[in-house]
Symmetry: C2
Subunit: 301 residues, 2 copies
C-alpha cells in the first residue's frame, strides 16, 4: 500500500491535513519536516505531507528550504485547514490551573484564554499533541490541540472552534518525486523557486515575465541563502498549470534569466479558478506562434 | 531619562540588541512584541526594540503585522546579531540529562546537541531566558541561551558560539513615533508597507517603480491581510534614504498606485553603502527636473 510520511506526532494539524489528502494511503508520523522530505527522497514512503504557510505565523521556513535544496520534490496536491483549536481536559469539576500547547498555538488563542481561563497558567509543550499527552498523564490540566487530537487521546472536549483570528488557515502540501503532473482543472496552482541575481531590478524583471503573460501571482516568499547573508531565493506561487501555454512560456523565460526549480502544478484546495488576462489564453499563444511561423516562411508579413 | 521597551524577558537576544542600540537609555523588558509597540504608542516609553527577521526562521510576523496596523511607528536604527548560543549549566560533574530552550533555539542547535550532548533530552521552555531560570532552579541540567543571559543568570558556561548554521543572524529594529528622520549616511535602508490591488501584475508594477529609479531591493515579505484570505500586503526594504531624490520620487509614484505606510529610513547595521544605478543620483533627478521646467517655460525643447 502507498504510504505518506507526515510531520507528526499523531494528533496534530498535519495529521488532519494528511487524512484529507490520504485517499486510502497509510499514514506514517515522522518527527520533523526535513525527516518527512527525506523519507520520500530515500523511497521509504511514496509521499510526504507538510505545512507550507500559515496566515498568522507566515511561511514554514523548514518546508521552503527543504524544497529548494537536495533532490527535487514536487507538490501533487494541497489541503487548506482552518486553524480552530480544541481545548481538552480530563473532565470533572477540578479547576483548570495549567493549559499547555506548542508556543505558536498558545499565541493564537491568547485572547480566548484571557477571557475563558483567566486563572490558568500557560505552559509550553513541544507540540499540540504532546500537550494532550501531558493532560492524559496528569501533568497539565488542559491542552490546546488540533481537533483530530481527541481521536488519538480520548479526553474531554472542554471547548472547540477556539481561535483569536477566526479566519486563520494553514496550507499543507502533498509532495512526491518528479513524475507525471496532476491533470489541469482550471483552478490550479503552480509553484517554483528562483534564485535571481543580486542586482537592482532582478525581482521586478522576474515578476514582469509573469505579469506580461497574464499570470496572477498568489504568493511570494523571499528566503535568505544559507552562508550568503543578503542574497535571497524567491518562492513564487501563481495561478495556472504548467500544461497551459502562458505558464510554460513564462517558465521558459524565467529559465533563461536565472536558476529555476519547478515545485509542482496541482489543483487549489479553495477551488478558485485562474484569472486569465486578455491575450493570454492557450489559443492566443497558439495563434501568435502560427503567425510568427507564417512570417518566417514568407507567407505573411 | 529616555526609555526603550524591549521584547523580554531579560537575558534574551532582544535585550542584547537593545543594549547595542541603547546609548545610555534605560531598558524596560515587556512580555510580548505587541506590548513593546503599545508602550511607544501610549507614550510609556520613547522607543521599542523588537526583532524583525531571522535568517533561519524568516520574518517575525508579530512585528510586521504590528507595524502595518494601528498608529504609525518608524524605525530609527537597527542592530544585526549573529545567532550564536551559549549553553549554560550549574557546573560540576553531573551528567547533562535535560537541555531546555525556546523551540526555535532548540531547532537551531539540533546538530550540535546530537554531537555534544547526545544523551540529553531536549525540553521546551517559553524563552531562552526561562530555560536559564529553570537551570538555576534545578529543573533542567542545561539551557541554550543568548550570550547575554549569563549576566542575568550567573551560571556555568558549558559552551559558547554554538550554532548549526554559522552565519545565522537576526535583525532588530529600534522604533519610535514619527518625527525628524535620522541623517542620511550613504549606507541607509528605507522600509515601507504597501497594500497592492489584488490583480495580475500589481506587485510587478510596484517593484518596477523602484527598479526604474535604480533602487536596490533588500527584502520583500508578503503578509496576508487578516480577515481577507488571499489578499496580501507587502513589506519592502530597499537601499537609500527618503531624503534622496530617487527614493522620494519612487515613494510618490507608489503612493499614486496604492496605500503606502512609511516605516523609516535609517543607517544599515552592516554599513553596506547603497548602489545607485546609472542616471539615478540626486543630481540626475535635479538636472532632469530643471530640463522639464525649461521646456515648460518655452526656453528649451
Amino acid at each position: 500500500m502507498s504510504r505518506i510520511a507526515y510531520f507528526g506526532p499523531s494528533g496534530t494539524f498535519t495529521e488532519q491535513a494528511a487524512r484529507v489528502l490520504a485517499r486510502g494511503r497509510e499514514l506514517v508520523a515522522v518527527e520533523t519536516i526535513p525527516a518527512a522530505l527525506t523519507a520520500v527522497r530515500k523511497g521509504e514512503t511514496d509521499l510526504a505531507c507538510v505545512p507550507v504557510e500559515n496566515s498568522v505565523e507566515g511561511p514554514v521556513t523548514a518546508t521552503l528550504d527543504g524544497l529548494a535544496e537536495d533532490t527535487p520534490l514536487v507538490a501533487v496536491a494541497e489541503a487548506l485547514l482552518p486553524v480552530h483549536f480544541t481545548v481538552l481536559t480530563r473532565g470533572g469539576t477540578d479547576p483548570v490551573r495549567t493549559v499547555a500547547s506548542h508556543p505558536h498555538a498558545l499565541a493564537q488563542v491568547r485572547h480566548w484564554l484571557e477571557h475563558n481561563l483567566p486563572d490558568a497558567e500557560p505552559v509550553v509543550a513541544s507540540s499540540t499533541a504532546a500537550a494532550a499527552v501531558g493532560v492524559r498523564d496528569g501533568r497539565y490540566d488542559a491542552a490546546v490541540t488540533a481537533p483530530v487530537a481527541v481521536e488519538t487521546y480520548p479526553l474531554h472536549v472542554f471547548a472547540d472552534g477556539v481561535a483569536d483570528v477566526p479566519d486563520a488557515r494553514t496550507r499543507f502540501l502533498l509532495l512526491g518525486p518528479p513524475g507525471p503532473l496532476p491533470e489541469p482543472t482550471g483552478a490550479d496552482r503552480t509553484s517554483i523557486v528562483a534564485a535571481a541575481a543580486n542586482r537592482t531590478g532582478a525581482l521586478a524583471e522576474l515578476l514582469g515575465e509573469l505579469a506580461s503573460r497574464g499570470i496572477n501571482l498568489t504568493r511570494l516568499d523571499a528566503r535568505p541563502l544559507k552562508g550568503n547573508y543578503g542574497y535571497y531565493r524567491f518562492f513564487l506561487d501563481f495561478e495556472g498549470h504548467l500544461s497551459e501555454a502562458r505558464v510554460g512560456n513564462a517558465l521558459a523565460a524565467l529559465r533563461r534569466r536565472c536558476e529555476v526549480r519547478f515545485l509542482g502544478s496541482h489543483p487549489r484546495a479553495d477551488g478558485v479558478r485562474a484569472t486569465v488576462a486578455a491575450a493570454a489564453t492557450d489559443e492566443d499563444f497558439a495563434a501568435a506562434s502560427r503567425w510568427v511561423d507564417a512570417v518566417r516562411s514568407g507567407e505573411l508579413a
